[in-house]
Symmetry: C2
Subunit: 353 residues, 2 copies
DNA sequence: TTGAAAGCGCTAACAC
DNA sequence: GTGTTAGCGCTTTCAA
C-alpha cells in the first residue's frame, strides 16, 4: 500500500498535478519545486492544478534524490533539564532560519542510548548531528556518526579523540572565579560537589566523564592552589548521584566545611534544601554558589550567587557551526569557548566560626 | 549526486550487500529488513557482508515504499518553557518505546508558525502529529493536518470544532479549588491574572484563545459565584503580556486586592518579584497562588501554594493515544482530562486589615 | 527459499 | 521552455 496512508487516501503527486495541468512531470516538478524555468502561463496552470488537487510535496522523495533531508538530529541528556531545553531552543531557532528541522533524542547520559540515537538519525539521513556527548573520555558511541562522514558538532562537552567542532562554556575560568569569590570572603574549607560518577576519591589530574565537570573541578582546584591551600583534591566530592547530595552535604557540614560550590543548579537546589532542614543559614552558616542562573536562584531567600552560562548561545552557535559544515565548509575544526558571567547575589558571607 | 553525501562517499545499499553475499537484492533485503524467509546459510552470508561493508539501512527509502516513517511531529509553544519540555519528555518516552522518534517544532503560540510547522511535518510524512494548539478558538492552522488524514492529538488545550483526541488537565476544577482556598481564608477581593490576549475587559462567558486559560478563568469565576461575590468578571485581568505583569500587579495593589491567582508560574514569578519590590509581604500583605509546581515555588520564601499538573503524563498520554490511532484504532475521539493536584505551602493567609 | 521486476515521488541529465 | 528518461534504496508482488 505504498503512498496510501492508513486511511486509504492516496497523496497527490507531481504526476497528478502534471496531468491536471497538461504538462510533463518534469515541468510540473520544476514549478512546484521552484527550480528550473517555466513560462508564466505554465507556471500558473501548474500552481492552479496543485492548489486544486491539494498537492503537498513529499520531502522524503526529494531527500532520496538530492541526498539532503533538511533535518538535523540533536541528542541531549534530557530535554526536561532546563539547560538542554534552552540549548535546544537556541539550536532550533538557528536551524529553522536556515530551513532545517530538529529530530530530538534523549540519551539520559547513557552511552548505549546515545549510540542508538546516532543509529536512528543516520538511518533517517539527517544532514548533521548535534550532541552533548554522554562521555567525554569514551565517546565511542559517536563513532558511527563520525564514520558516516556526516557533520557532527558537540556542545556543552568535548570528546577525547574526536576531530569535530565543539561549543562549550568556559567552565574552568567560571569555576575559578566562583571559588575565588569564596576564598576572598575568607573561606578556607570549601567543597565542590558534583553528581558525576568517579571511581574512588578524586585526585588532581583525574579525568572525569564530562569535560564540563572536569573543567569546573580544574578551575576549583586552580583557585585553591593559587590560595596556597594544601591538598585541594580532598575538597572535591563526586558521585553525588550515587551517594545522594543530601548525604554528602551533611557529611561536609560535619567536617566543618564553610562553603560549597555546586556543580550545577540541581545540586545547589538539593543542598539548599538540606541546609534548610539542618537549620543552617545561608550565607551565615554556610556559603553556597552554583552554575546556571536557574529561576529559583534569584527567588530563594537568600538569592544565590551564580555563574551564568550563555546556554541559548551554546545551542545556537553549535547549530551555526553544523550548518556551515553541512554547506561544505572545509575549514579546520573549531573549538568555541563561550564566556560565563558572574551574577553576585546574597549567598556568600565570611565563614562563621 | 544522489545517495552520495557531501563528502562524496557513497552509502552502502542493499544491492551492495546482495552482490557481496552473492544473493539477489530481494533476498538481501529480506534478511536485512527482518521480513520474509531465508535459509540460515544465506542469512549468515548476508549478515556477514552487511557487517563487512558497514551497511546502514536507509529509513527514508523504507518510508517511501511502506508509507510509514516511524516519526511523529510535536508542535509546542516553546520548548524552553518547562511545561512543554516536560510534556515533550513524556511523549518522547512513550514514542521511543513504540519505535517512534520526535520531530520538534516551536510555534511561539503563533498561528502562522503553527501552520508552517504542520506543513513541514506533513511534507516529512510523519505518521502523526502532537500539538498544543496556539489557538483554541481558531484552530484553522491545523486544518491541513486534519485534512491530511494523518492522526492528530491535541494536548494541554482543546480546539473548537476539531474532531480529534485531546489530553488536558482539569483546569477548571483546579482553579476552583485554588480560589476556594483563598476565599476560605477570608479573602473577598481576589484577582486572576493571565498573559492571554483578549479584546476589552473580560466578561463572564467570553471565550478565550486558550482553553486551559479559559477553564482556569471559569473555575475562578465558579468559586466567586459560589461565594456570592458580585460581578466576578471584574477580578479577571488578562493581556498581561501586553500590559506587563508588573503594571497589573501594582494596579491590583492600588485597588486593594488581597489575593492573586496567577494563571501560570511565569506570571506568579513576576508577581512575586513585584510584590517584593513593593515591600509587600506574602502572605501577610497579599496571598499568592499559582498553577504548576515549578522549582522555585518550593524554594522561595515563602514557598508558594500551587496546583500541580501531571505534565509528564499529559505528554505521555497524548503520545499513547496518537500511536493507537496510527496503529489504526477507529474508536470515537477521546477527550482525556487528567486531575490536578493541590500542594499547600505558605503563601496563603487571611487578608490584612 | 530465492529471484526478477515494478514502483514509491521526486530530481537531474539530456535532448529537442 | 519543455519533455523523456533514468535513477535514489527500499519493499512487494509474482514466478520459479
Amino acid at each position: 500500500m505504498p503512498a496510501d496512508h492508513v486511511n486509504g487516501r492516496r497523496e497527490v503527486t507531481v504526476s497528478d498535478v502534471a496531468a491536471a495541468a497538461k504538462v510533463s512531470k518534469a515541468t510540473a516538478a520544476r514549478v512546484l519545486g521552484g527550480y528550473g524555468a517555466a513560462s508564466e502561463a505554465v507556471r500558473d496552470r501548474v500552481q492552479a492544478a496543485a492548489e486544486e488537487l491539494g498537492y503537498r510535496p513529499n520531502a522524503l522523495a526529494k531527500t532520496m534524490t538530492t541526498g539532503r533531508s533538511n533535518s538535523i538530529g540533536i541528542i541531549v541528556g534530557d530535554i526536561e533539564n532546563p539547560f538542554f531545553a534552552q540549548a535546544t531552543r537556541g539550536a532550533a531557532d538557528v536551524a529553522k532560519a536556515a530551513g532545517y528541522d530538529l529530530i530530538l533524542l534523549n540519551s539520559d547520559e547513557h552511552a548505549d542510548a546515545e549510540e542508538n540515537a546516532v543509529s536512528v538519525l543516520l538511518a533517517k539521513r539527517v544532514d548533521g548531528i548535534l550532541v552533548a556527548p554522554a562521555s567525554t573520555t569514551d565517546p565511542s558511541a559517536l563513532s558511527a556518526a563520525v564514520d558516516s562522514g556526516r557533520p557532527l558538532v558537540l556542545f556543552d562537552r568535548t570528546a577525547d579523540g574526536l576531530d569535530v567542532d565543539t561549543v562549550v562554556a568556559d567552565n574552568r575560568a567560571g569555576a575559578r572565579r566562583l571559588t575565588d569569590l569564596l576564598l576572598e570572603a575568607g573561606h578556607l574549607r570549601v567543597a565542590f560537589v558534583s553528581t558525576i560518577a568517579h571511581d574512588g576519591d578524586y585526585r588532581v589530574g583525574d579525568r572525569l566523564g564530562s569535560s564540563s565537570v572536569g573543567d569546573r573541578v580544574a578551575g576549583f582546584v586552580d583557585s585553591l592552589v593559587a590560595a596556597g591551600i594544601d591538598d585541594p583534591a580532598r575538597f572535591v566530592r563526586l558521585n553525588a548521584r550515587r551517594d545522594g547530595v543530601d548525604t554528602i552535604v551533611r557529611r561536609l557540614v560535619d567536617e566543618g566545611i564553610t562553603a560549597i560550590v555546586a556543580s550545577d543548579s540541581l545540586i545547589a537546589q538539593a543542598a539548599f534544601r538540606t541546609l534548610r532542614e539542618l537549620g543552617i543559614a545561608i550565607p551565615d552558616g554556610i556559603s553556597l554558589v552554583t552554575f546556571d542562573d536557574a529561576d529559583w536562584t534569584s527567588l530563594s531567600a537568600p538569592a544565590i550567587t551564580v555563574m551564568a552560562q550563555p546556554i541559548h548561545a551554546i545551542g545556537a552557535e553549535a547549530a551555526r557551526l553544523l550548518i556551515r559544515r553541512i554547506a561544505g565548509d572545509g575549514a579546520p575544526r573549531e573549538n568555541v569557548v563561550l564566556p560565563q558571567r558572574l551574577i553576585e547575589r546574597e549567598s556568600i558571607a565570611p565563614p562563621a566560626h
